[in-house]
Point group: C2
Chain length 336, copies 2
């Protein structure tokens, strides 16, 4: 096989066939599925969760992961935060002509490894190749299907005044890792992306604790944007305490130097949970025992319910309060 | 709203929110679904079909369609040829900074219109924006989920010697339409892409006729590549008659001028059916009555079964026979 991807690899002919056999099938083990345009899959559930995401992160390799690992964890997490058990996913590759085959293999192998870890099966894919200069190395799109196991439905409608807001760990790690991986800022080098599949931890929580109203992963747009969206979508107002939000010292330092607000930096292995107050300690306890939740903290609470336009407020260490909005304008393009 | 897409539209903040509300939600009518990372969907079936495809067609508008219509018909057809009823799809957009918002809206509106026509719901999406020069206007990735209705499973394992090979219409229209839409060849202007959703016709066939062994849409790589794949995957040898393959005169002419073999040109609204011989006339009759099957023809037959390496042969009008292989090398990049 040639050492670089060329346009013919995306033509649907002999070279596409070889690429599928030698790279994708080898890693993902599709087996019989590749014979069909749409593989048939067992799905013993009356409700499925279905999600999609495209990944255009730049660079495609960064501390703590690469675009492939990110594509799997992102899809798994979108399903898991919805309360679903991730089952199947697809992966579409848009490859720039000239990409090193070694890079592609490394990305694909990372996907296979992460999918195995998370218990999701990559069952179909697609490969397109575009001319040099018409894409940037590699874009990946994934879609995922999950099933809802009995009794694990989240009840957003039960959110009430006094509910606790819990964050599963430090924020901003992914955003700063990406910035540091871009050549111009190669100095901040020991911050790794937090990208990780959260489904195991989420399933444990849903099995052991009642009263978890909603879970959301604060990816693009960061903690602040994700919480503003929850407040607006489910009509509640909430307050978070700046001091209580876990942030690594070096991430804090990098943000100070670069002028970023960590509240708006992307995370790829964290979640926000809104939990009935009486269960908050139990949730925190389970989180803290898990490697992906060690730094979990209660960061705020729901202050009023059934407001027409939900709002988010930040209480600073000085005791002042300011309203947080969605990320506005451009912070960091191509973060995921 | 601004008239061109900029990087902030892909940041997950305020502008992404506006773009989703004002373009995608308006066209697709997601409604409540946008609140969730993975919408929950009714799925009364124990078997689902799940497929994905990326679309990088160049140019994004062409005679007979655009990248959006193509993305929907392609997904619908991948599900339908598998025997599934298309139910839900997702759409991920990778947009080059600077794309005209008007173009994006036109593409999205075409998607909504085609999805409505085909009876599939676009239930989730994703938007990424990359810097000018890092993509080529617009790439779309879709994934689709379909359900298998009782009694509609295709039985490839029943393929036998003597089965008929039926093609639902003329080949090469899509390929030539794309070539003609590229600036350098603006002369061949009245050939339209055949892109169309075949699910209605396929459902009718599956309800009315028994003995349909397999259906496949000959997209990238064309009729020859699709048939070679069927022969290899399901271990049979077949022969098709060159004279019997429907090709428009102007497509034939364009192929002669441009040096393309129509057997390898992409189609986006055609299907190959392998049918038990005794039912071939019934299948042909149903096809010919449908606007998408008017030019259907029996083009060949299965000549032997259970061969370890299935092969495809073409019988020419001169009576000679030659073996057809998969598309080899590069014919037309970015055809879909």
């Amino acid at each position: 096989m040639q050492q670089r991807i060329n346009l013919a690899h995306g033509e649907g002919g002999e070279l596409t066939h070889k690429l599928i056999k030698e790279v994708f099938e080898k890693a993902f083990g599709h087996g019989e599925h590749t014979k069909y345009d749409a593989p048939m899959l067992e799905c013993k559930s009356e409700i499925i969760a279905f999600t999609t995401d495209s990944y255009v992160v730049k660079p495609i390799f960064f501390p703590g992961g690469n675009i492939g690992k990110l594509a799997v964890t992102g899809t798994v997490n979108d399903l898991a935060v919805s309360g679903a058990v991730p089952k199947y996913m697809t992966a579409g590759f848009i490859i720039e002509e000239g990409l090193s085959l070694r890079y592609l293999k490394e990305v694909v192998d990372s996907m296979a490894a992460e999918a195995k870890k998370a218990g999701i099966r990559i069952i179909a894919g697609d490969t397109k190749v575009v001319e040099k200069g018409s894409a940037d190395q590699l874009f990946i799109n994934t879609a995922g299907v999950g099933i809802l196991e009995s009794g694990q439905k989240l009840h957003q409608e039960n959110i009430q005044e006094g509910d606790s807001i819990i964050l599963s760990g430090t924020i901003g790690d992914h955003g700063i890792a990406i910035v540091s991986a871009r050549e111009e800022l190669g100095l901040i080098s020991d911050i790794k992306s937090d990208c990780a599949s959260l489904n195991g931890l989420i399933q444990e929580l849903l099995q052991k604790v009642k009263g978890i109203r909603v879970i959301k992963d604060p990816t693009r747009g960061g903690l602040a944007t994700a919480l503003v969206e929850l407040c607006e979508d489910f009509h509640f107002t909430s307050e978070i305490l700046e001091e209580s939000i876990p942030i690594r010292n070096d991430v804090h330092g990098a943000c100070d130097i670069l002028g970023f607000d960590p509240l708006y930096l992307a995370n790829e292995g964290k979640m926000i949970l809104i939990v009935e107050s009486k269960n908050k300690e139990r949730v925190l306890q389970i989180l803290k025992k898990h490697p992906l939740g060690e730094k979990a903290a209660i960061i705020g609470r729901v202050t009023s319910r059934n407001v027409s336009a939900g709002e988010l407020f930040l209480k600073t260490p000085l005791g002042t309060t300011r309203r947080l909005q969605r990320l506005s304008g451009m912070l960091l393009p191509r973060i995921c």
